[in-house]
């Protein structure tokens, strides 16, 4: 076994407004499948047989009840629960499962929907004997109007700066614009090693990481790191060029303490098996041109990134991304538009870009376009649904017009309601003939 897969599915989805009020992010339906099904499927497709799923008790319960995960996922899922309110970061979670980790790991976030070829990332990891390899993708512009948000929300001006070398693979630095107020400053010695630095903005981190086992061991020694993306990755990227790894300095007690710390870092990097090292010495291969120094300039800690320029890669962590993902989900997998167990009247129009879930009932004279209808949902006569996401167990009474909205599970939409760009919370009831134009009505329903 080369890799152990770890799925991080404990996140609450704090950026998705009220969508995750009742449903944890991992279980939000996307194309009538729970969100976490997608990364699991990704792992299964590349041949993983076991996955460690880090999640909360709540999600575990829902997982065991969810038919998709029970039937579709053939991998052995080893569910590890962490405290819900424990404020545990992703790195904390890794530290938590450290005893289970026997090999290098592949960490995936539960909100990743991608058709990326995973082997590209893993190959980088293998080829360069890297400490970290990760996946990034060009950021997408979300064009759909988002319920509850007036106009186009300005994307946050704080861009991530990612520096890669000439080949576009070696990760040289990462920084957020917010931390760079005083400008970007780079050590000359780094530039001497990597004279051509491409700085890219407008990339999203897919939160998919290959990590050496020693990184997990390192985490157990360094309890201060709590998040992979926020702390561990930037730390590793920086460490590539810090010389403490090779420096042998002992001074006073304070320095000693540092030394202890750097010993644990040393651990990260000195895992090169002697054989590999010998091979590198004997080989005439080199990773750079120009100067005559050894490959990688003797650096032992290396971070790589695969940047997708084509294909689909979404992180479903905002409402906009959620809607976009639902729109695209039918295209990802060839599945019948209408689930066999759904009952649809013959005199209704269902677009081929829609999905009708199991045991749905769709009555006459309805039209459903570019929408997802969840399981056990009842749609009565003369209902028009366009560009919307209807979750499970929703009842839509006659004559409703629903456009660009998200309706959470078990909601009831009263007769003749007209909803445009609305978000209807879990189990809410919309009065008959209510008209909600535009996007303001979110919290009204949820807070009730």
């Amino acid at each position: 076994m080369e890799f152990q897969a770890v799925l991080m599915a404990a996140g609450g989805g704090s950026r998705m407004t009220d969508l995750t009020y009742n449903t944890p992010k991992a279980m939000l339906p996307v194309g009538n499948k729970p969100l976490m099904w997608y990364p699991l499927n990704l792992l299964e497709r590349v041949g993983f047989e076991e996955v460690i799923v880090i999640t909360t008790k709540e999600v575990q319960k829902m997982m065991s009840a969810d038919p998709k995960i029970k039937q579709d996922v053939k991998m052995k899922l080893e569910v590890v629960c962490i405290q819900e309110d424990g404020d545990m970061g992703t790195a904390d979670a890794l530290r938590h499962i450290q005893p289970k980790i026997k090999t290098d790991i592949l960490v995936v976030s539960c909100d990743l929907i991608t058709d990326a070829a995973l082997h590209e990332v893993v190959d980088l990891f293998r080829a360069h004997n890297a400490t970290l390899a990760m996946l990034m993708s060009k950021a997408h512009e979300f064009t759909e109007t988002v319920p509850g948000q007036k106009g186009k929300k300005k994307t946050a001006e704080q861009r991530d700066f990612v520096g890669v070398d000439e080949s576009g693979k070696r990760l040289l630095f990462m920084a957020n614009e917010a931390d760079l107020e005083e400008g970007l400053s780079i050590r000359k010695s780094i530039l001497r090693k990597h004279p051509r630095v491409h700085i890219k903005t407008g990339l999203v981190d897919a939160h998919l990481y290959c990590l050496k086992k020693s990184v997990v061991d390192f985490l157990t020694d360094n309890k201060s790191i709590s998040s992979i993306r926020g702390e561990l990755v930037p730390y590793l990227v920086r460490k590539q060029f810090s010389k403490t790894i090779n420096g042998q300095k002992t001074k006073d007690d304070v320095e000693d303490q540092n030394q202890k710390k750097s010993d644990s870092k040393l651990h990260i990097s000195s895992r090169d098996e002697p054989l590999l090292q010998l091979a590198q010495e004997r080989s005439c291969w080199n990773d750079h041109r120009g100067d005559m120094s050894e490959a990688y300039h003797g650096g032992k800690l290396r971070c790589y990134v695969h940047i997708m320029d084509q294909g689909l890669c979404y992180r479903v962590n905002t409402l906009a991304a959620y809607i976009e993902a639902n729109r695209l989900a039918p295209k990802l997998f060839e599945e019948p538009v209408v689930h066999p167990s759904a009952v649809t009247s013959e005199r209704c129009q269902i677009g081929s870009d829609s999905i009708i879930g199991a045991s749905c009932q769709v009555a006459e004279k309805t039209s459903i376009k570019r929408s997802t209808i969840g399981n056990s949902t009842t749609v009565k006569e003369k209902v028009k649904v366009t560009n919307s996401i209807i979750m499970h167990g929703v009842t839509i009474e006659e004559g409703c017009n629903i456009q660009g909205s998200v309706i959470c599970s078990n909601a009831i939409i009263g007769r003749g309601a007209d909803l445009k760009y609305c978000l209807v919370g879990n189990g809410q009831r919309i009065e008959s003939i209510a008209v909600f134009q535009l996007k303001e009505c979110v919290s009204v329903f949820v807070l009730n």
């Binding site: 861009r159 970007l184 491409h198 303490q257 120009g290 005559m292």
Partner: protein, 709 residues
């Protein structure tokens, strides 16, 4: 659409502005012009350039300006303006004799001389004033050696100018050359930030002497999402300029160099709206001979044929008697070269006409000029021997320049980076140390004829008369030697001269900061500031001291003190361990802070003990885990290591701390048995300091070893 509009407006308005008539024709086939600056406006080549302007110094036995002109001609320049200042007569004379001034020359050369030029800026202002250029022109220095085909860059430049009129004013030509490459000039080391898509220069900086390179944030706000930071570029000092460049120099009279200009344009990009673009060539060759190291590098590149088709045997200057033959190992021989028995011409060697070489010589990687005589058993490596030089037998020369008519007598050894200027005689039997420069000009004459920089060479003769009056020092130049050691420090101290102390320039340093910067702390290697941490600790210590003083005066309770210290901790971002160490230190130092350093040991102890009692609560709040106890003790130890004279009080303090349950017995014992890291620490534990003994009741006793307890 935009270009269409521009075109229409152009034809609509007819002839544009100052360009005069015939604009329309030029639009189709503009005459390519060039401005060649045959002056360096600095004294890097002094004292060599005291007798000969830099542009005429021989490189591979051809004057440097000929390479530049050949480059311009081959790239399609039809009209060149050569601007000379220093020794303009010599340059003019040289050019008039050369093939460039023959009627058949495809490149018309105009020579413009003036003593008033003091910088590139002056020249370009003059270009503007005389309205010499009508369209885009190439700007080069007279010491650029290049074979780059700039036609593509020119096309791109024109295209950009067409699409966005008057936005892009300049295209700079760079050559790719990785750090560590020989032809990279350390003084001219640059970093460029560019927009990957539009090739626009966003940031341009000389990096010499910088360890950290800083990029202001505003360069990343240009709307692009991909940038490139390039440190693998060599500035060829070739730029394609629009006529606007000359105007901009006129508008900004403080622009002296091209560097000023580029920085000015980049900084004022938002205001003026002008942009600079760049073109990077992978396979061309282009370098400026800006110091002798570059001279060495370019010469050897030339002999190794990197500047093809400008090779020594090509005789592109078309001068009679300059032809030579090329044989393997890059050995070039002019006509009439005679070689003595047993002499070896190893490799990469150019020997000019009518030079004779004696027996048993070893010559490699060198260039030898015309009419030189070289004796027997001479070893030359990376030697640049100019014309009419006499070298006697048993001479060793490595990486040195010997100028015209110099004489090296028997048994002389020139170590690396020596320079023998014109007419110098050295020897016999002397070894010149590394970096020696010998000239017929006395260094002190420099001040007398400082104005000479402006004047033409007519006065040089005069000054030579003066120098003859001063005696040569045989210890420096040998018994029969003639010449003075040129001391670089005598150069005047104008700004640009700062780095030019050495004729040879800075040696390429493979990786100067990799070792010195070795122990960068955990902080980010991109924007860390190790000083800040130290600084904030120091401020924190002062603040804690202040808090405790106030606490004592106003009788503030321990809980409130803890609150205050905690808030300070956050304010200065200090970790727990440092808090503990600083707190311990401040408390121990407290009596001295209050009463002054003259306290005796018993006084000190008497003052400190009540304080400890008072603040035991504060300590207890911070000292919780075993590690905290250790930290506290190590701070204690550290403090007393500095206060040797008060070791007597130590046991009492430790005892009190133990009794107040600030530190635990076991930890004290562990600390004691842990062993010291320094000799002094051991002393502290053993000789002078404290001794510990566990008594039957299980109490810990700490006993003064030195004094009676």
């Amino acid at each position: 659409m935009a270009s269409k509009g521009a075109k229409q407006s152009r034809s609509g308005s007819g002839v544009a502005g100052r360009k005069g008539t015939g604009d329309q024709e030029e639009e189709e086939q503009p005459l390519l012009q060039a401005v060649l600056i045959a002056d360096s406006f600095n004294r890097r080549f002094f004292p060599i350039s005291k007798d000969q302007p830099r542009a005429l110094l021989p490189l591979g036995n051809v004057a440097m300006i000929d390479y530049t002109l050949e480059f311009l001609t081959s790239t399609g320049v039809q009209e060149t303006f050569v601007f000379c200042c220093w020794m303009s007569n010599k340059i003019k004379e040289h050019l008039l004799k050369s093939k460039w001034c023959r009627p058949t020359s495809p490149n018309t050369v105009h020579i413009i001389t003036s003593d008033l030029y003091r910088s590139l800026g002056d020249v370009l202002r003059d270009v503007d004033a005389k309205a010499l250029v009508r369209s885009d022109f190439v700007l080069v220095y007279g010491d650029v050696v290049s074979n780059i085909d700039i036609s593509q860059a020119l096309q791109e430049h024109r295209h950009r100018r067409k699409i966005e009129k008057n936005i892009s004013v300049m295209t700079m030509i760079f050559k790719e050359s990785s750090p560590g490459h020989k032809s990279r000039c350390e003084e001219d080391d640059i970093i460029v930030a560019m927009d990957s898509k539009s090739q626009r220069v966003l940031h341009y900086q000389k990096t010499q002497g910088l360890k950290r390179l800083h990029f202001p944030m505003n360069i990343f706000h240009s709307g692009s999402d991909e940038f490139e930071i390039r440190y693998d570029l060599l500035d060829c000092h070739i730029s394609i300029c629009s006529p606007q460049v000359a105007e901009l120099f006129t508008d900004n009279f403080d622009y002296q160099t091209r560097n000023d200009f580029v920085r000015g344009i980049l900084v004022n990009e938002e205001i003026l709206g002008n942009q600079i673009h760049m073109h990077v060539t992978k396979d061309g060759y282009g370098a400026r001979v800006s110091n002798l190291l570059m001279y060495d590098a370019v010469s050897s590149d030339l002999v190794r044929r990197w500047v093809y088709p400008l090779t020594p045997e090509a005789n592109f200057t078309d001068q009679k008697g300059q032809s030579c033959t090329h044989s393997r190992h890059n050995v070039y021989r002019g006509s009439g070269v005679s070689l003595g028995h047993g002499s070896q011409m190893e490799e990469n060697l150019l020997i000019g006409c009518d030079t004779s070489i004696g027996a048993n010589c070893h010559i490699s990687n060198s260039v030898i000029g015309y009419n030189c005589t070289i004796g027997d058993n001479v070893i030359l490596d990376r030697a640049y021997i100019w014309n009419n030089v006499h070298i006697a037998s048993n001479v060793v020369i490595s990486q040195s320049v010997v100028c015209d008519k110099a004489e090296v007598k028997e048994g002389v050894k020139l170590n690396k980076q020596c320079v023998l200027a014109y007419n110098v005689v050295i020897g016999p039997n002397i070894s010149l140390p590394e970096g020696t420069v010998v000239s017929m000009h006395h260094p002190e004459e420099e001040e007398e004829d400082d104005d000479e920089f402006l004047s033409d060479d007519g006065e040089v003769g005069q000054s030579q008369d003066k120098t003859k009056q001063k005696a040569f020092n045989p210890a420096e130049v040998g018994a029969e030697g003639r010449g003075y050691i040129w001391k670089a420090s005598s150069l005047d101290d104008t700004e640009e001269e700062e780095l030019s102390q050495c004729l040879w320039g800075l040696v390429l340093n493979p990786d100067p900061d990799s070792d010195s910067e070795a122990s960068e702390p955990d902080g980010s290697s991109f924007s860390s500031d190790p000083c800040a941490a130290v600084f904030s600790c120091a401020v924190f210590q002062i603040e804690v001291l202040g808090t405790l003083q106030r606490g004592l005066e106003e009788n503030i309770g321990c809980d409130n003190l803890v609150l205050e210290i905690n808030s300070l901790k956050y304010a200065y971002n200090i970790n727990m361990k440092e808090v503990l160490q600083i707190l311990t230190r401040v408390v121990l130092d407290f009596p001295f802070q209050q009463q002054g350093p003259q306290l005796t040991t018993p006084q000190y102890a008497a003052l400190l003990l009540p304080l400890l009692k008072k603040w035991a609560g504060v300590f207890k709040n911070y000292v919780k885990r075993a590690q905290d106890h250790m930290d506290c003790l190590s701070a204690f130890e550290e403090y007393f290591l500095e206060q040797e004279s008060h070791w007597g009080a130590m046991f009492k303090i430790l005892m009190t701390m133990y009794q107040l349950e600030i530190v635990e017995e076991e930890i004290i014992l562990r600390w004691f048995s842990q062993g010291a890291t320094t000799d002094k620490g051991r002393q502290l534990r053993n000789n002078q300091g404290v001794r510990m003994r566990r008594q039957a009741e299980g109490h810990l006793w700490i006993e003064g070893h030195a004094g009676p307890a």
